[in-house]
Amino acid sequence: MVSARAVAESVKDPELPMLTIGDLGILRDVTVEAGHVIVEITPTYSGCPAMGAIRADLVRQLEQAGFDDVDVRTVLRPAWTTDWISADGRRKLAEHGIAPPGAAPPHPVPLTLSRRPQQVNCPRCGSAATVEVSGFGATACKALRRCTVCGEPFEQIKAI
């Protein structure tokens, strides 16, 4: 039988389906005691609307693997950081045209009036000559950029 942890780690993120919740670093712990599975997950952002779907997917996939008694708990601390996205996860993001995040900024974040200098390579042509189009994107975790060499717009995971 596959371990509960392996099943939980393989659940896909609904908004970034190329990643598992293990890759994304939001799966915090899985414990099994006398058949009772406790899964701890943490949201990427306070208002992440995918948490409900992830919770339901965890329960369903663990049940399919033979774990009938599953409790999914949300933990808030330590707060998720993009530094927890695995090397494998970063590779998958880039393969799907989404630039992985750079190192998370220190906290508390000092006021920044100019755009934070960050090198983001175009996931299509690899050029470092890219500019931010918008600090926000289609989901809470993404920003929009454009490559000035190949001209393609692309999404980037915001470093937090």
Binding site: S46, G47, L111, F136, A140, I160
Partner: protein
């Protein structure tokens, strides 16, 4: 501990509702997306804070607090409920709000309430991003064309009467940190920081006249269909 979670939850909920009113009305698609994202972050913070408040007080849920309280029971600052003005007004309000809230949450990271501390630790990352977004626009518009400068100055004049209330009762250290960030940005934007007149007593359940309409829009469905699920 409890009032703090309720106060900060109400601020976030009410401003999230106001910001949501920008959806499909912002001057550019990117700003539409930005304001919607900021609203979503604040709504998330509100849900966590109101849930905590309900849990500690032992009655109700995040939903009963959001949907079933009347106007005088909301403890948000008036700044959060000011009606949607032009884009300059929203930028000034958002800059002031996120600078102030970031200073509060930074201190709450060490709160003796572990849940409040965890919510704060998460929230500071989001608020720093919101603040920088608003500060960037404040500089671009304040230091932009004659028209954009004029509208930003007018917005500052409209928003400032609601600033003093944010620091009632007197929170000297918080005010100094806030003033420092405001001064840096206004300096870069070519905007003048107005004198701060004494404000309302703060969190007193008093509201501006548009609060009733905001609540009606937010609460009417939940009240018309009690216990509905979808």
């Amino acid at each position: 501990m409890t009032p703090r979670a309720l106060h900060l939850g109400d601020d976030a909920l009410v401003l999230a509702q106001r910001l949501s009113q920008w959806i499909r009305r912002a001057p550019e698609l990117e700003e539409d997306v930005a304001l919607a994202n900021i609203a979503l972050d604040l709504l998330g913070q509100a849900r966590l804070l109101l849930s905590r408040s309900a849990q500690v007080s032992g009655s109700g849920t995040e939903d009963t607090l959001a949907y079933l309280r009347d106007e005088h029971e909301f403890r948000n600052v008036r700044l959060a409920e000011l009606p949607r003005g032009d884009f300059a007004h929203e930028i000034v309000r958002l800059f002031v709000f996120s600078t102030w809230r970031l200073a509060i949450l930074t201190r709450l990271v060490d709160s003796p309430d572990p849940v409040l501390a965890a919510i704060a630790a998460k929230g500071v990352k989001e608020l720093a991003y919101h603040r920088d977004y608003a500060a960037g626009w404040a500089v671009r518009l304040g230091d932009g064309t004659d028209l954009s400068h004029e509208r930003m100055s007018a917005a500052v004049g409209d928003v400032w009467p609601y600033v003093a209330e944010l620091f009632e009762p007197h929170e000297v250290e918080l005010r100094a940190e806030f003033d420092d960030v405001i001064a840096q940005v206004f300096d870069a934007a070519g905007l003048v920081v107005p004198d701060s007149a004494p404000g309302n007593s703060g969190r007193d359940g008093g509201h501006t006249e548009t609060m009733a309409a905001l609540l009606a829009e937010m609460q009417s469905i939940a009240r018309a269909h009690p216990d509905a699920t979808w």
